[in-house]
Amino acid sequence: MAGNAETEYAAFLEKVKRTVYVDNLSPQVTEHVLRAALDQFGTVKSIQFMTNYIEPEHIPKRALVEMEDEEQAKAIVDLVAGCPLMILGMPRPLSACAAKVEMFEDRPAKPGRKIEVRWLDPDDPDFEVAQKWKDIDKRHAAEAQLVLEVRKAEEEKLAKQQADNLKANFAKYEMINASMADGTVERLARHYGMNLRDEV
């Protein structure tokens, strides 16, 4: 029985090694789309989208993608780090890194581990330390929360900035197109004695 659990755990660790954690996915990305995208670099064995239990809703979709072997997984991580890969939208690229054991929601328990907890006696010298630790943990959680909020704000800012740029650029091209079409450009060219044609 114990041996069984151990082999199972070992198999799970192997699976972790060939799995890639993919972040910054658009919510529209489905298993099919992601599979099609990553199948270019190897064989996708399974895809598991991560459930977001606690973080605010704005966070992008994340997935654990199991590849056929470790090399393929590594290749994807390197490739994505090198060039921006985009799925279902531009320009925000996805990011990828090697998956970790703790990212798997349905991971098996580490075999042979027995967790024993105890209530500290208030007279225990450690009691105060533990209380302090709890406070620290609370502060840490709040700090992390804040950083994540800043992160979100930054992302929004960048998205907005890019959107504005894009709109401005688009308007510019539209204007050029329009002035080409209604003959304004040619009139101006004649006026200034410029040759608009490409031929020499």
Binding site: M86, E105, I115, P122, I136, E154, L166
Partner: protein
């Protein structure tokens, strides 16, 4: 959602029903299979609810699958006499008699997940209405329950006649129908077949006590049958019926139940009734107590089944369906205040280990979910959502974690707090994917139906530049977070150094 359909071994939809009702998106079904048992529309089933010693009995009046692949059934309720003690008055009910809900109001019917169904229940209509297929004597014995009257949930009184239409269901589906009786009877015999082994072992009273305690750990359906068996055993006419039965199998059942009865009688002679029940069946005692209490305290105003919808279904007890996703249960738990977020766990723990920790620390059974780590979550403090059985237990746990210190093996204290989980549902906004909207060029059919793909952007495009901006920012933010967590790590190290023990 994909997994629900994939992972259910032995679950199969049966005949499709006609679309209808308010929800056009839903797919209605006339039947479904589970584990070789076919459940059809208008079958009676047991439904188990957490905290209830006895399962509810209801009739499936609609079965469907929602567009999000959730399996649902509309259940028209039967009341056990003890559920409506307040309104019984002087009415005399048979021991295995149920009352069908009727009228309008709370407690008539509810929509439940199909997963709440714990097993098939053989309920026979004994109404003398000519349209009702009269059950034979044998069939009556086989029945788990019988009914001939209804309980109007609006007027809160018992009505002797069955209405033409109850909760939109025609009366012909409520009466016994051709096929329904035989089918049920066969099923029942099969179940009894299993039963007689158990009963056979019961010859010795001492063993019987042990067994009745064991009962608590046994699967629900079987336990239920035991109870009804005893009810039947108590009834005079059924005993007669059994003894006239010549079939070998029946005979063995009879000997089984006879020994059970003997034992009961013995006990009855020796001790008052209350003790008898206690020694026989702890859970029955519990039911009686709770019913008695309900009868006295008049707070039992409306039939309580209405809670059904809101309360999560106890899934530990019926393992043969896949439990509803933790996400769903988490939402309901949050509304009911039974949800607690545990922090400062070792991130390597898994859900079952967290459940074990709660058991060790609070002696409370719970359902836990270790939250998966992501690149943005703290590597020092693991988080887990825990659903307690009651709101009080959840409150107690939070308070105790606040005032006391429950330390894990490495000396870290557990932190508990109330936290609202993020609401499920599709997120719609995603920063960073831009669309050029051109008012002059309305979206053509082609662009709408274009197959979306993935691509690496070329370095000579605007998109590449923008993507680089994103990558840069991403790395900057990751760096900040990394720094923060490193600092946290240092602080924790310092605190740990102060620990005396270890």
């Amino acid at each position: 959602m994909v997994e629900t359909s994939k992972d259910d071994i032995g679950f199969k939809w049966g005949r499709k029903g006609r679309p209808g009702g308010k929800d056009r998106e839903a797919q209605f079904y006339e039947s479904f299979h589970f584990d070789g048992v076919e459940y059809a529309r208008y079958d009676c089933v047991y439904l188990y609810k957490e905290g209830e010693p006895e399962p509810f009995v209801g009739k499936l009046i609609k079965i469907w699958e929602t567009p999000t692949k959730l399996r649902r059934a509309k259940v028209l309720w039967f009341f056990r006499p003890c559920e409506i003690t307040n309104y019984l008055g002087t009415e005399q009910l048979l021991e295995n008699e149920l009352l069908l809900a009727s009228g309008e109001g709370v407690g008539l019917a509810n929509v439940n997940p199909l997963e709440a169904i714990a097993g098939k229940c053989n309920v026979i209509c004994t109404s003398k209405d000519p349209r009702n297929l009269q059950p034979s004597h044998e069939e009556l014995q086989m029945a788990d329950f019988v009914f001939s009257r209804t309980f109007d949930v609006g007027q809160r009184k018992i009505i002797d006649k069955i209405d033409e239409r109850i909760c939109g269901t025609e009366v012909k589906f409520i009466f016994n129908r051709i096929g329904s009786l035989n089918h049920n009877a066969v099923e029942k015999v099969l179940c009894l077949d299993k039963e007689d082994e158990d009963l056979g072992k019961n010859a010795l009273p001492s063993e019987a006590i042990v067994k009745s305690l064991d009962d608590l750990n046994r699967p629900l359906k079987k336990r239920k049958l035991d109870a009804s068996e005893i009810l039947l055993g108590n009834k005079h006419k059924n005993d007669e019926g059994k003894s006239t039965d010549g079939v070998g199998r029946q005979a063995s059942i009879q000997s089984g139940s006879a020994s059970e009865k003997q034992f009961k009688n013995k006990n009855l002679n020796e001790s008052p009734r209350g003790e008898k029940v206690l020694s026989l069946k702890p859970e029955e005692k519990f039911m009686e107590l709770s019913c008695g209490k309900l009868g006295e305290v008049s707070s039992h105003q409306s039939p309580r089944k209405d809670n059904h919808e809101a309360l999560p279904v106890d899934v530990d007890k019926n393992t043969w369906f896949k439990e509803p996703p933790f996400e769903d249960r988490m939402q309901t738990a949050c509304e009911q205040g039974t949800l607690v977020l545990l922090r400062n766990l070792d991130p390597t723990y898994v859900s079952t280990e967290v459940e074990d920790i709660i058991w060790q620390g609070f002696r409370e059974k719970c359902s836990a979910k270790m939250l998966p780590q992501t690149t943005t979550s703290s590597p020092h403090s693991g988080q887990a959502f825990v659903i307690f059985k009651t709101k009080e237990a959840a409150k107690r746990a939070i308070k105790k974690l606040y005032t006391g210190c429950l330390v894990l093996p490495d000396g870290r204290p557990l932190v508990g707090c109330v936290e609202t989980p993020c609401s499920p549902g599709k997120q719609s906004t995603f920063n960073g994917h831009l669309v050029i909207s051109n008012p002059k060029q309305p979206q053509t059919r082609e662009t709408k139906e274009a197959v979306s793909t993935s691509h690496f952007s070329q370095p000579n495009t605007i998109v590449y530049d923008m993507a680089m901006e994103w990558s840069l920012q991403q790395q900057k933010l990751d760096f900040i977070l990394d720094k923060l967590y490193k600092k946290h790590g240092m602080e924790l190290k310092k605190v740990k150094a102060h620990l005396k023990s270890k």
